[in-house]
Symmetry: C2
Subunit: 247 residues, 2 copies
Amino acid sequence: MSQTVTRALRLLAELGEGERSLDQLAEALGVHKTTVLRLLQSLEEGRFVHRDANYRYHLGAGLFALSSLALEQRGIRRTAAPHLAELNAATGQTVHLAAYEGGEVVYIDKYDSRQPVRMYSRIGLRASLHCTAVAKVLLADLPPAGRRKVAAGIEYTPHTANTITGPKELLAELEQVAAQGWAQDHAEHEAFINCVAAPVRDASGRVVAAVSISVPDVVLPYEQVLELLPQLLATARAVSADAGATA
Amino acid sequence: MSQTVTRALRLLAELGEGERSLDQLAEALGVHKTTVLRLLQSLEEGRFVHRDANYRYHLGAGLFALSSLALEQRGIRRTAAPHLAELNAATGQTVHLAAYEGGEVVYIDKYDSRQPVRMYSRIGLRASLHCTAVAKVLLADLPPAGRRKVAAGIEYTPHTANTITGPKELLAELEQVAAQGWAQDHAEHEAFINCVAAPVRDASGRVVAAVSISVPDVVLPYEQVLELLPQLLATARAVSADAGATA
DNA sequence: CTGCGAAGTTGCGTTATTTGCAACTGCCGT
DNA sequence: ACGGCAGTTGCAAATAACGCAACTTCGCAG
């Protein structure tokens, strides 16, 4: 494993927090500033970092370009985009697209609510496996053995009074999600937010992504969030159809 | 300058093109696969790359997370977002937000057209300085000396018959843009696309970003794109106001 | 205008890190 | 069961990274 690369990534992470000077970065990594300088020079060459007129380092456009390139390459994101935008426009609520990969559930797209309330979620972040609607939808499609394995490996951090606290409950919930074809998060992650999510399937019938609507209950109470289900399911079906699913 | 970091970035760039196997990556970099493996392990630890079940490497969620974090930190992007979404919804056309930094103009946000025609532009990419409306708007705010310096340093690659071909014409155009408060790209970059752009100013009165609308002329002819100007200017003014500009 | 201090940069010797090789392992298709 | 392909590991050689210390540059204060 490469120490140099690890340090470079730590630099990027540090810059993700905000602009930094050379000395601040050297301090943060605990290495000599010469070392940091040379790492930064390479990163700058690749446009991953950018130095402004005041010798402050920022994350650079090369990073954004690479990220959006990679996101666009995900077929499912592209096919989902227009439908998600429409759902977002129709409901006015926050819409997420998430996928399961390598044991984690990651947000791969997000359309913000028109409400001023902002959610703590972002493209690229991991969704908690035991207390989000998207994760339930994605896990519910795993074969039983896979579900059990994942369920056993989760740390059941309780976020609210409703958070699922153990593998047994989670597996039961997944069973239900698989049966009904959608999932909910009734204030399980954030006390004041409810979500509903539905699966997107490809031609093989496997679930390749999950679409969700998240609503703070100051905006809509739980019951009214459930009333959005038909629109959500229609969107998920439309995306599935565009992704080649037959049913 | 760090060879290791440079190689790691080349790996990421390669993966930006699509998924790759270990051997393909070693081939592409011209180094031993052991070397690539260890770089990848570090990148994987930082969630910048991800290896799927078939031992194919992809760009990972850590990259997306970092990128969207950094983009959200740009105040101007956040303040502009609702206005751009509205402009996009009202016109149905592609809307861009771009900023000038370190001698280049970079797209920092994009709202896709509702037409099926897709534009070749992406967040993080550089806009050509001599043939895009956003660049003209941003360059027009530089002090005269700065304009001349930039104008002299550009390679005037002609893209269409309308492309500006030299510093003299560009400086004259910038003069006009500064005077009229908006810029256009009348099929200067792509033969079938017209754009208009307007400046966003902050409290100091400096131009900190540019908003643009881009329309393929199969959708709207040039004259009708100009009719979108009032909406564009209103959006730019609204963003400026939210950014603290007084006038 | 001059001097001081803070912050970034460069040259260089040392050495830790990385590198490539070769051999090993595990998997897939025949 | 076998052969080949792709990824992984141990090891010795040497390159590339490291930290130091001295140098430069810039901004500010006297």
